[in-house]
């Protein structure tokens, strides 16, 4: 049986993933030319590398179409329902660090915490004739964090696929849930992360699709060991 490892197909994520694998003694070779989206690992038979986009990797892991994948934890948790039942985070790789956070306009000086935001959300309809709106592309993470963790139900999500930090100033939404690494874009747009507003501290991870046949496969354990020791 061939094991398939999905790696990011471009950019820093691709380079960093290949570097971690190289440190683990796993040299990733593209098949054919450098731009090919198929690869293999030097000296190991029966392991295939597929170069995919990072969000596709999460989906393919969830479907069990690939055995391993390197992708951001945010994409795994956003893309898959009941992620922990379907995949396992085998190693945290120490790059691609970014936090998914709840940020409000900095001028909301009365809102420091999620409890404050809960108060504002509860009153919003009465004051403004509509629910509090959140601009985000993280539907699932937002719903889990607001509803399950903080008991806040009364808000609406406005889908935002880019330049989310601009939504509050433009009036497209009241607050945002977005990913940030240095926080500089948030600051530049006069937004502030709530004191308990970090939903997820994400980084690139080696993720394994939970498949029963992995238990008896020595290649699975040794690949995990190698990557863990290199990360």
């Amino acid at each position: 049986m061939t094991l398939t490892v999905a790696l990011p197909s471009k950019g820093r994520m691709k380079d960093d993933a290949i570097a971690v694998f190289a440190r683990a003694g796993l040299t990733v070779m593209a098949i054919g030319n450098d731009r090919s989206y198929r690869g293999r690992i030097e000296g190991i038979d029966g392991v295939e590398v597929a170069f995919l986009s990072a969000s596709e990797i999460a989906r393919e892991l969830g479907a069990g179409a690939v055995d391993f994948g390197v992708t951001g934890e945010d994409l795994v948790r956003e893309g898959l329902s009941r992620a922990d039942e379907r995949v396992e985070i085998s190693a945290r790789l120490g790059f691609g660090n970014a936090d998914v956070v709840v940020a409000v306009p900095d001028i909301w000086k009365d809102v420091d915490s999620m409890a404050d935001l809960g108060d504002v959300a509860a009153d919003f309809r009465t004051r403004h004739g509509r629910r509090l709106t959140i601009a985000t592309k993280y539907w699932r993470l937002t719903q889990n964090f607001f509803s399950t963790r903080h008991g806040i139900q009364l808000y609406r999500i406005v889908e935002s696929l880019g330049a989310t930090e601009g939504a509050p100033a433009s009036g497209a939404a009241d607050i945002i849930v977005d990913i940030t690494s240095t926080g500089s874009t948030l600051t530049a747009n006069h937004l502030r992360v709530l004191s308990d507003g970090v939903i997820l501290r994400s980084e690139a991870c080696l993720v394994r699709a939970r498949k029963p046949e992995h238990d008896a496969d020595p290649r699975v354990a040794s690949l995990i060991d190698a990557v863990q020791s290199a990360s």
């Binding site: 001028i107 809960g118 108060d119 699932r140 509803s147 008991g151 009036g171």
Partner: protein
């Protein structure tokens, strides 16, 4: 969905089935629409003019007029009919008692409404919150409007009532399929229920809703051992108001009512408040001096400088006002006595026949004046008694509520004890009609029956 035209179809099939009275001019919702069933029945009766239709014995409860065991409801997969020894039996998705239940609902005096299966999703998401999104079936129209498969009936019944602009009080009944993503159980199942809109005598309307729900279940699942619990948000609100908490805290607690975990966390915080967050340096001066006007002006100035509109979202005045009240919110500590009272109240869980005494004893011991809520509570008890309900078999659980902002008073749940299945849920939702756009407040109470669960309980008898 049982359409009026389906009923018409049945009356062709089975002449003793009474035809519905024609709707009066300008009254009620649009009820008539040719249904596939009606067209099909017309075809069948044309082809087989002498078709003999079988009858089974009338059901013990709703016997009298029509007792035929026809299954009516929405057609599934075109599997319309099969012949049996008794004659023609229609097979649809509805439970076999749906036709009888529909008649029983009519007998309760409701106007039966026809709610389209495809609904705009906005009102549901707006009312119940974004969390509902993953529990309903969503789709989009070509123009980008969010649509969903009807996840429940109350909101569309209310919206239809507002759109038709008919007078109140008015009682609506419904029976049909609803669609929800569930981890356990089918994603499409039948619900039936009643909504009473605009009945000014709230105690009587509350009692009628609970009593009708219990009566229907007792009729259709007679062997079930029922447990009924009742809660009352208005009493909780009165207790919270009586404790003398700042308005912000009252709102928080009321908002969390029915969510045990959230409420517990808040009470813990009231018992031992954390150190208040230090106000931001840019506003600390205004707060220290109590300079409200200066604070507002400062916020407005910053918003303009940073390109934030002062009217698209929260206004400077709103932020300033909450900033000031927050200073007291964060440091509010509930006295040991008040805390004990709140906990004692939430722990009340007793049969309804002893509830009035228990509530007045609680109020006396806690030194709270909650007489207005108490009177309404007792009026409801009296109305239930008057309807012949056995108060000893209903439990009042003081902490029982639904954490949605349109519920205002009584809530109840009727379960089959042995199977541990909720068969009916109901409650008062006085705030919903205005949230949905009614020009003036319309009191509202209703209940919904879970037909699939009632069927399970019936099968086990």
């Amino acid at each position: 969905m049982l359409r009026k035209s389906d009923v018409e179809a049945l009356s062709i099939l089975c002449p003793s089935f009474p035809s519905p009275p024609p709707p009066r001019e300008g009254e009620g919702l649009k009820l008539l629409r040719p249904s596939p069933l009606l067209l099909w029945v017309r075809l069948v009766t044309a082809l087989f003019p002498r078709l003999e239709l079988g009858r089974t014995s009338p059901s013990p409860l709703w016997g009298g007029g029509w007792g035929g065991a026809f299954v009516i409801g929405q057609a599934r997969g075109g599997d319309f009919s099969s012949r049996t020894r008794e004659g023609l039996v229609m097979q649809f998705g509805a439970p076999d008692f749906a036709a009888d239940l529909a008649r029983a609902l009519d007998a309760l005096g409701g106007v039966r409404v026809d709610i389209p299966v495809i609904q705009p999703a906005e009102p549901f998401l707006d009312m119940a919150g974004e969390d509902l999104r993953r529990r309903i079936f969503l789709t989009e129209s070509e123009t980008g409007e969010s649509l969903c498969l009807r996840p429940e009936f109350t909101i569309p019944v209310c919206t239809a009532h507002i759109a038709e602009n008919v007078g109140t009080p008015r009682r609506y009944g419904y029976l049909g399929q609803v669609f929800r993503q569930r981890r356990d159980g089918a994603n499409e199942f039948f619900q039936a229920g009643v909504e009473d809109l605009g009945e000014p005598d709230e105690a009587a309307a509350d009692a009628r809703a609970l009593s009708d729900a219990r009566g229907l279940i007792a009729g259709f699942a007679p062997a079930a051992d029922l447990s009924i619990i009742l809660g009352d948000q208005a009493v909780f609100e009165a207790v919270v108001a009586g404790l003398g908490l700042p308005a912000g805290w009252q709102k928080r607690l009321i908002h969390a009512f029915g969510n045990e975990q959230a409420l517990g966390a808040m009470i813990a915080k009231l018992a031992s408040p954390e150190a208040a967050a230090v106000p931001d340096a840019s506003v600390a001066g205004f707060l220290a001096n109590g300079d409200v006007a200066g604070l507002e002006a400062h916020i407005e100035e910053v918003m303009q400088e940073t390109g934030y509109s002062t009217n698209a979202s929260r206004s400077p005045a709103e932020i300033a006002a909450r900033l000031i009240s927050k200073q007291t919110l964060d440091s509010t500590r509930l006295s040991a006595r008040s805390l004990a009272a709140l906990k004692a109240f939430l722990a009340l869980d007793i049969p309804l026949d002893r509830a009035a005494t228990a509530l007045s004893e609680f109020a006396r011991d806690a030194g709270l004046n909650i007489s207005v809520a108490q009177q309404a509570f007792e009026a409801r008890l009296a109305a239930l008694k008057q309807r012949g309900e056995d108060l000893g078999s209903i439990r009042w659980r003081a902490a029982f509520g639904r954490p949605l902002d349109y519920y205002t008073g009584m809530v109840f749940e009727i379960s089959a004890s042995a199977e541990n299945l909720v068969l009916a849920g109901g409650g008062r939702y006085d705030r919903m009609m205005t949230l949905l756009g009614a020009q003036e407040p319309i009191p509202a109470v209703g209940f919904s029956l879970w037909l699939d669960r009632i069927e399970t309980v019936r099968a086990g008898r």
